[in-house]
């Protein structure tokens, strides 16, 4: 966010405390939501739980279009609407809740770097697998994305989304990659994360930060989502400390969810 926008946000947000009726919007869980959106939404949910801020999850067919930036998820707090993890972290910081206050500047820079890594590697890989791999796109992504709409609108929207994502992949240079190369990139990303995590409970020792929430959101979703091939999940499973990391966060923050 730009500096004046940040300042503006802080001014407005700082005025009110976190309300009871804060809501998080995402597409329909059973039939519509895709891997990448589910991962982003889970990351935000994990972050808010780590901060101890209550939020209600509401599923809407048009959540993607309701969002001010077009990305899932977004939260509706008071009369403010904020989307995506980055701005949401800023927003909660303005209200006085933060997980990374205890970090010094070096650590904060490191955290930002790893978050960028996850966004550039894991998220992009998820989008690639969903929309650029023909098998997944035909069997899973397009049917799910178009399920709430009637024909011919369903086909139009699904193909439009696919073209849009493929254009974006070409623009960032992923258009020419094969599925194998993408799996390799995911493995390398996981290796970097695993090395940083080591034997610690969280990335920055005792207390979770937004980086933990982000990594958890993506890894947990990949591990629990059924795709056309289980290759992606397998690559992650080879790093046992990441597996126990996910399990730990799930048990600590989501145990009421499991029921």
């Amino acid at each position: 966010m730009s500096l004046p926008a940040e300042a503006f946000m802080s001014q407005i947000a700082a005025a009110e405390p976190w309300p009871e009726n804060a809501t998080l919007y995402q597409p329909l869980k059973e039939d519509q939501i895709l891997l990448s959106d589910c991962a982003s939404s889970l990351a935000v949910q994990a972050y808010l739980r780590m901060c101890g801020l209550p939020v209600q999850v509401v599923c809407r067919v048009n959540a993607e279009y309701m969002s001010p930036s077009g990305k899932i998820p977004f939260i509706h707090v008071g009369n403010q609407v904020v989307s995506e993890l980055g701005p949401i972290v800023q927003f909660t910081k303005a209200k006085g809740h933060s997980l990374s206050e205890a970090l010094d500047d070096v650590q904060r820079a490191e955290m930002k770097a790893y978050m960028e890594l996850v966004n550039n590697m894991l998220l992009t890989a998820e989008l690639y697998i969903q929309w650029c791999d023909d098998a997944t796109a035909t069997e899973i992504s397009r049917p799910r994305y178009s399920s709430p709409y009637s024909w011919p609108l369903s086909s139009i929207l699904a193909y439009q989304k696919q073209w849009e994502v493929r254009r974006k992949m070409n623009a960032i240079g992923w258009g020419g990659k094969t599925l194998e190369q993408v799996y390799e990139d995911v493995s390398q990303c996981c290796q970097a994360l695993s090395q940083r995590l080591g034997t610690q409970p969280y990335f920055f020792n005792k207390h979770p930060t937004e980086l933990d929430a982000l990594v958890f959101g993506h890894l947990f979703t990949i591990l629990t989502t059924r795709l056309t091939s289980a290759e992606l999940a397998e690559r992650i499973k080879s790093y046992s400390n990441l597996l126990s990391f996910c399990r730990r966060i799930e048990q600590t923050y989501f145990e009421d969810k499991r029921s």
Binding site: N62, E64, P68, N79, Y149, S150
Partner: protein, 467 residues
């Protein structure tokens, strides 16, 4: 008899003989007996020609001119020729139609035989227009293409393309009347239209296709239409209310609609007499699509000329939107009320249910208006420019709300009758051609509810359809 030319302008008020001075044989006293002879003389129309046809097919025109053959005397011939000329012009394929009535020539000419010739000039095959429009912080370039009489039977193809700084719209339309029966026609349209509605902080893009079939039944005009529209709604500004944000997204509407119109007014803008009844219903959801509702609306207008060239006009509008199934209605289907074209004294569509300053529209409404139109005081520019202006005194009232469909009709009527907004005032109306009118009014709004936005004092309005 000397040849008689019948030219513009019309309508004829009586037998206009238009006899040229040199054609009359002197002395003048013989004119009167000549007129009597012409009026009472029985004639037979032997031939009717149409000169100047290019691509128009003749079978189309035989229906329009058939009436001329049935004329029995000269006055009848002139009247029937005039009617046939009107019919030919109405087809929209000729630029000019002249009628020439002459005595029959040739071998089989009867002594009282007449030949009627229609001299027509066809419209060009393709006409284009280019306009630039500027308004509301947006400039746009509008390109129009019209192909009248494409296949020779009065079919019309129009294409319009508007390219603006903010939005782009286009539309393609094909119209075909039934030969011999112009009132029965069908048309097919394909369009993309974008609208910005600042009163709701909403932007709507419609991409659709529609097919329409019109036919007259007794004195009414009926229209059946199927329409399939892909609607895309989005917020116009980041500050849009959450209620409007919730409506963002895509939906598909496939609807069948029927409209019935009885129009006995002498003009659609500032009529002096006659009435209008328009009933329209639309059923969406049974031919596919996401939207599912039944929509009814009606429009009644009655006009009566009073003493001293003043006209009293009363109008009533109403509508109801009934959602079918458990999905709520979309903001794109609801009714809106208020503004210089409906209840004057209120801002444009700024009446009724709203959320944080954005007006959401309502599922039921009614609006009534009572007007007294008089000529301008002291009648400046009488007989010319001044006749385009009228002063009017008005009283408007109406209500827009959402109904709770669980209750009965008594409860609905009660809800529509409470919190009535109304306004009164006076102003000046300017008539623009035969399609539009401009108004400048001084309005006093009353019955204002919290949430309504008013525009009391001077209000300007321009449009086609006014309450």
């Amino acid at each position: 008899i000397s040849s008689i030319h019948i030219l513009d302008p019309l309508p004829m008020k009586g037998p206009e003989l238009g006899v040229q001075a040199d054609d009359i044989e002197p002395p003048e006293i013989e004119q009167e007996p000549k007129q009597e002879v012409l009026e009472n003389k029985d004639v037979v129309v032997q031939r009717v020609h149409i000169d100047g046809l290019g691509r128009t097919k003749e079978d189309l025109l035989t229906y329009e001119i058939a009436g001329v053959f049935r004329a029995k005397n000269l006055i009848d011939v002139m009247r029937k020729s005039h009617e046939a000329r009107q019919k030919l012009l109405r087809l929209g394929i000729f630029r000019k139609v002249n009628v020439v009535i002459d005595t029959s020539r040739g071998e089989d000419a009867l002594p009282n035989g007449l030949d009627v010739t229609f001299e027509v000039t066809e419209l060009r095959r393709m006409t284009g227009s280019y306009n630039t429009m500027v308004g509301n912080n947006e400039g746009s370039m509008v390109l129009g293409l019209k192909l009248p009489n494409v296949f020779g039977r009065a079919e019309k193809l129009t294409f319009q393309f508007s390219y603006g700084t903010k939005e782009t719209s286009y539309g393609l339309s094909f119209f075909k009347p039934q030969p011999g029966n112009f009132e029965r026609n069908f048309s097919v349209n394909v369009y993309k239209v974008t609208g910005q509605f600042p009163w709701s902080s909403l932007r709507e893009t419609d991409r659709g296709v529609s097919a329409e079939f019109s036919f007259p039944v007794w004195r009414t005009s009926q229209t059946l239409k199927w329409e399939g529209v892909w609607r895309e709604l989005s917020c116009l500004a980041r500050t849009a209310s959450f209620a409007v944000r919730q409506e963002s997204g895509h939906s598909l509407k496939s609807s069948l609609s029927h409209a019935m119109v009885i129009d006995t007014r002498n003009s659609s803008i500032l009529p002096r007499q006659g009435g209008l009844l328009k009933i329209h219903q639309e059923l969406a959801g049974y031919s596919g699509g996401d939207a599912s509702f039944l929509k009814e609306d009606f429009e009644i207008q009655l006009n009566k000329t009073l003493f001293w060239d003043s006209v009293l006009s009363a109008s009533l509008w109403g509508g109801l939107l009934l959602p079918i199934g458990d999905k709520p209605t979309s903001i794109a289907d609801r009714f809106y009320l208020g503004g210089p074209t409906s209840i004057r004294g209120f801002s444009m569509y700024s009446l009724g249910p709203q959320s944080e300053g954005d007006y959401l529209g309502g599922e039921a409404y009614w609006a009534g208006g009572l007007h007294l139109y008089t000529p301008l005081p002291f009648r400046p520019g009488r007989g010319g420019f001044g006749d385009l202006f009228r002063t009017h005194f008005f009283l408007n009232a109406g209500n827009l709300c959402n109904l709770n469909y669980g209750e009965g009709p008594q409860a609905h009527l009660k809800k529509l009758a409470e919190c009535i907004r109304w306004s009164y005032g006076l102003g000046i109306v300017l008539r623009l051609g035969n399609i539009a009118r401009l108004e400048l009014n001084y309005c006093i709004p009353m019955g204002v509810q919290s949430g309504d936005r008013i525009c009391d004092g001077v209000q300007f309005g321009a449009g086609i359809r006014f309450l």
